[in-house]
């Protein structure tokens, strides 16, 4: 009798569940992308081992929680693929774990069909439930990661699993560029099980199953980590993954000092080296291994969002209240001379604060150039006269401003600017400060001119830096104290808009507006990477993508990583030449395919 009762209750529950099971809306339109250009080389061969270095050993292999935010984490996270990503050149959505996707009419929901081939590294299939688990995981108090807790609570509403291979991710609010928010990565429920308060300790050195091309195979704490290619990787034949992730093993050795790493590189104990610093590119690389052609140099221009670095004028200072004075200041900064004569022409002039954002960038804006006549024109317009010492004066106001900075290497640039500005009648007083103290001073708006750069993101943001709600008060990023009603209107509209075309138009207008306010003097950008590599490492004809930050140091990145491969024949040949001390023609590749036009 009892058994029967249970059965009935059980059946009842089951039918209840079935009734409550979510249903996929009928009217959705599935999208996919198998037409964008591929960027890997068809000549790529699999195999080989490459060595690179890191300056410290990771404190943990956990990717969330205390001490997890080290530089090694990207090697783990890059192997945790997400549902979709964006093509590094076209910025269109490309399939990764999902084969198809669709947008909900509420502008908050995106639907995904999972690739049925997708497997965890332990062989278990990836299911929609693993995405549901991701949300549970990220919201759990046990992972001790308040930022993730907060983000996944406030930004993501829920994940709905329709069946094993169909799901929806719902954002909290309607958003422009929804796909950048809701493309979650799965986490293996079968591996983690139920989380408890021992999570942090328990998973310190656990190797979590992943979906990417590589997995940690061996490691020796304090010495090295080896990551091994999965021979039978589920995604190896996908359109945008084919011919990529080629080497069998990627070994990261701990070398705590980059000067010592350079010696390792010269002895071929590591295969790549960062030559972005002029010192290395121009001087230190004048050694036999380069001159004899055993090592190649590459200078690859990319096209990514550039840090808005330069001089930020505090408009609450009496001297900078007048627009003419701000323009005059900009025309008195001889940035081009610094680039040409101090930085060896290696850097490029930043034209404005939002370069490299693709169609969101207003490329018609040009930075104000050094021009003493223009400075004179604007200063006279503002009612100033040159004093006996050559500096502009008006009443008891003298055009002498403090430039606050923190990086010692920048002193060389600033002293040249200072001398040139003096010619234009402006005195710069250089003030070097400790990094955090400097930043505090800026946030409290106690500076005249702030010499700094902001970090970038995927789309330009204006509210923090230029909206009047953030002006005239401490601890906001509006360090220029820009307070302009029209600007506010534009920024509010940009933030409220969900329409990409409208947002692009507004972004461009705002950039023009910022240029007209003249509170920012853009200085330098470094839109390229420079590397040295032993010649048996091969790269595609176009060695990177618009968003390539390094050809070798982010080898697992889902969109830009793993384009290089190892050529055993060339390796043997080069070794022979080295033994015989014979020279090869030295090779320096300069690739300007994606170089920004200025």
């Amino acid at each position: 009798m009892k058994v029967k009762l249970f059965k009935i209750i059980g059946l009842g529950l089951l039918s209840f569940c079935l009734q409550a099971a979510p249903k996929l809306p009928k009217d959705i339109k599935w999208l996919s992308n198998d037409t964008d250009p591929v960027y890997a080389s068809p000549d790529a061969k699999k195999g080989g081992t490459v060595h690179n270095f890191m300056t410290g050993y990771p404190i943990t292999f956990r990717f969330v929680g205390p001490d997890s935010n080290g530089s090694f984490r990207s090697f783990i996270l890059d192997n945790q693929f997400a549902l979709i990503d964006v093509h590094p050149n076209t910025r269109n959505i490309i399939p990764v774990l999902a084969t198809h996707w669709a947008f909900g009419s509420d502008k908050k929901t995106m639907y995904f069909k999972l690739n049925k081939l997708a497997r965890w590294s332990d062989g278990k299939p990836v299911t929609a439930d693993d995405f549901v688990f991701n949300l549970e995981f990220m919201r759990s108090k046990h992972i001790v990661a308040p930022w993730y807790n907060d983000y996944y609570t406030k930004e993501i509403d829920k994940v709905i699993a329709y069946d094993d291979h169909t799901l929806a991710v719902v954002s909290m609010k309607a958003k422009p560029d929804l796909h950048l928010t809701v493309s979650l990565a799965p986490l293996p429920r079968h591996f983690f099980g139920k989380l408890d308060k021992n999570f942090v300790k328990k998973y310190n050195w656990k190797i979590v199953p992943n979906t990417g091309p590589y997995q940690i195979s061996t490691f020796k704490k304090g010495k090295h980590v080896t990551m091994k290619r999965k021979k039978d990787w589920w995604a190896k034949d996908l359109r945008y993954m084919k011919n990529r992730f080629n080497v069998d093993k990627y070994v990261l050795k701990v070398i705590r000092d980059s000067n010592i790493a350079w010696e390792h590189f010269k002895k071929n104990k590591i295969d790549f080296f960062n030559l972005t610093f002029p010192q290395y590119w121009h001087i230190k690389s004048k050694i036999p291994i380069f001159q004899k052609g055993y090592v190649n140099k590459i200078w690859f221009y990319n096209d990514m969002p550039q840090s808005a670095s330069g001089m930020w004028l505090n408009q609450d200072r009496a001297i900078f209240k007048d627009k003419n004075v701000r323009y005059a200041f900009a025309h008195a900064m001889n940035v081009d001379k610094v680039i040409k004569k101090v930085l060896r022409g290696d850097y490029m002039r930043l034209q404005h604060g939002y370069m490299g954002y693709g169609e969101y960038t207003n490329s018609s804006i040009k930075a104000r150039k050094f021009d003493i006549a223009k400075t004179k024109h604007y200063m006279q317009k503002a009612g100033f006269k040159r004093g006996a010492d050559g500096i502009w004066k008006k009443g008891n106001m003298r055009f002498s401003v403090e430039v606050t900075y923190s990086a010692e290497p920048h002193t060389r640039r600033l002293v040249v600017l200072k001398e040139e500005a003096k010619k234009a009648g402006i005195e710069l007083r250089l003030q070097k400060m400790d990094g955090p103290t400097m930043f505090k001073k800026f946030l409290e708006k106690k500076h005249d001119v702030a010499w700094m750069g902001w970090s970038t993101r995927i789309r330009p943001g204006f509210w923090e830096g230029f909206h009047s709600v953030n002006a005239h008060k401490p601890q906001t990023n509006n360090i220029t104290n820009t307070d302009d009603k029209e600007m506010d209107k534009l920024i509010d509209a940009y933030r409220a808009s969900l329409d990409a075309a409208e947002r692009i138009k507004l972004a461009k207008t705002i950039q023009k507006k910022i240029h007209d306010v003249g509170c920012f003097v853009p200085t330098f950008m470094v839109p390229y990477v420079r590397r040295a590599y032993w010649r048996w490492i091969k790269l595609p004809e176009v060695p990177g993508t618009k968003w390539t930050e390094s050809m070798f140091d982010r080898p697992f990145d889902v969109t830009t990583g793993g384009l290089f491969w190892y050529d055993p024949k060339l390796h043997k040949e080069t070794k022979k030449m080295m033994k015989a001390n014979k020279s090869l023609p030295p090779i320096t590749i300069v690739n300007e395919r994606y170089k920004m036009k200025i």
Partner: protein, 347 residues
């Protein structure tokens, strides 16, 4: 003014110590040169003869390029002006200083990157630093700043030290006890750390740096003066003066301090060299005077970072060796000349 025969004797004695005496001559010469540095090392010309009128640009306000018929408002580039006059073959001429560069300007070239090695034709006698500034100019002006710094620091330290030390020794008792303990505590504050912390919050300028250094530098002299005053106070002449009804002020200023002056003078050269070394090392570490102040420490730092540009490190090291040796030799000679043992009746 009559000079005390004893003092004359001391001077003679000092003069007879050749090493110290010549060091004094060299050192005074260096100071003299640095004081008139603008006449020797400067981008401004000493004399310009333009259309029959003479100009003396060295001191005073800048003369704009327009005055000499050039097309700009800012300060005239006299090196270019000299070249131009020569090319024009006019009667105009420019008399440039020995080194026609100031310590701030960047002499950059189109095809090469600094540091540039020493060159007589370009009048960079010691080469340029990593941003193309003349090293000789930076050494001369850096010397002047270092000397000014250590003399002012010395003045501040000694005024505090002598006053407080005298009072401690003279009054004794609780006043002495209190300051003894205070100095003991204060002396334990790690001075370099404090400067580093302060320098990271505010960029120190000349005056704040002196104040910070003086805050930790007054104790040595105070200690010394306290002991000496104690000793002198117990002498019969102080007792005699007291018996005759002399006031405390009179006793201190007329009797005690003149009798301790030899000790103070002996310490001066060593404090001067200490001041130079302190400023240089702070600049070297990047916690000294703000850029672009000419400074030996900053040059030393550049030299260290660019060992292949040997002329940077070698120039500044040579300059430091010369200065510190001469100062030390002077100090030794003074000490010997003032040694009380040589002035006893048994001589």
């Amino acid at each position: 003014m009559r000079i005390n025969p004893l003092t004359i004797k001391k001077f003679k004695r000092f003069k007879s110590i050749k090493r110290g005496y010549y060091s004094l001559l060299v050192f005074s010469f260096l100071i003299l040169v640095s004081l008139f540095g603008e006449l020797l090392v400067n981008s401004r010309a000493l004399l310009v003869n333009y259309n029959g009128r003479l100009y003396f640009p060295t001191y005073g306000q800048m003369i704009s390029g327009k005055v000499f018929g050039l097309d700009y408002d800012y300060e005239t580039n006299y090196r270019d002006l000299a070249k131009r006059f020569k090319e024009d073959k006019s009667d105009n001429w420019v008399l440039l200083p020995m080194v026609p560069y100031n310590p701030f300007e960047n002499d950059l070239k189109d095809d090469k990157y600094p540091p540039f090695p020493p060159s007589f034709s370009e009048k960079h006698y010691l080469g340029t630093d990593t941003i193309g500034r003349d090293i000789f100019a930076r050494i001369i002006y850096g010397f002047r700043i270092a000397m000014g710094f250590s003399f002012i620091l010395l003045l501040v330290n000694y005024s505090i030290g002598v006053t407080l030390g005298c009072l401690m020794g003279f009054w004794g008792g609780k006043f002495d006890l209190f300051f003894q303990r205070m100095i003991e505590i204060w002396a334990n504050v790690p001075f370099l750390y404090v400067i580093i912390i302060i320098a990271s919050i505010v960029t120190p300028n000349f005056i704040t740096l002196i104040i910070i250094m003086a805050m930790f530098g007054w104790m040595g002299m105070t200690w010394q003066m306290r002991t000496t005053t104690y000793k002198e106070k117990a002498r019969e002449y102080v007792l005699a003066a007291k018996t005759l009804g002399a006031s405390n002020t009179r006793i201190i200023f007329k009797h005690i301090i003149p009798n301790t002056i030899s000790i103070i003078v002996t310490y001066i050269p060593f404090s001067v060299s200490g001041g130079i070394v302190a400023l240089t090392s702070l600049d070297y570490l990047g916690f000294g005077l703000p850029a672009p102040t000419p400074s030996w420490g900053e040059l030393l730092q550049q030299g260290w970072a660019n060992m292949n540009a040997y002329w940077i490190a070698s120039s500044v090291i040579l300059a430091m060796v010369i200065t510190l040796t001469t100062v030390t030799f002077i100090g030794e000679a003074i000490r010997e000349a003032l040694d009380p043992k040589l002035h006893t009746t048994y001589e």
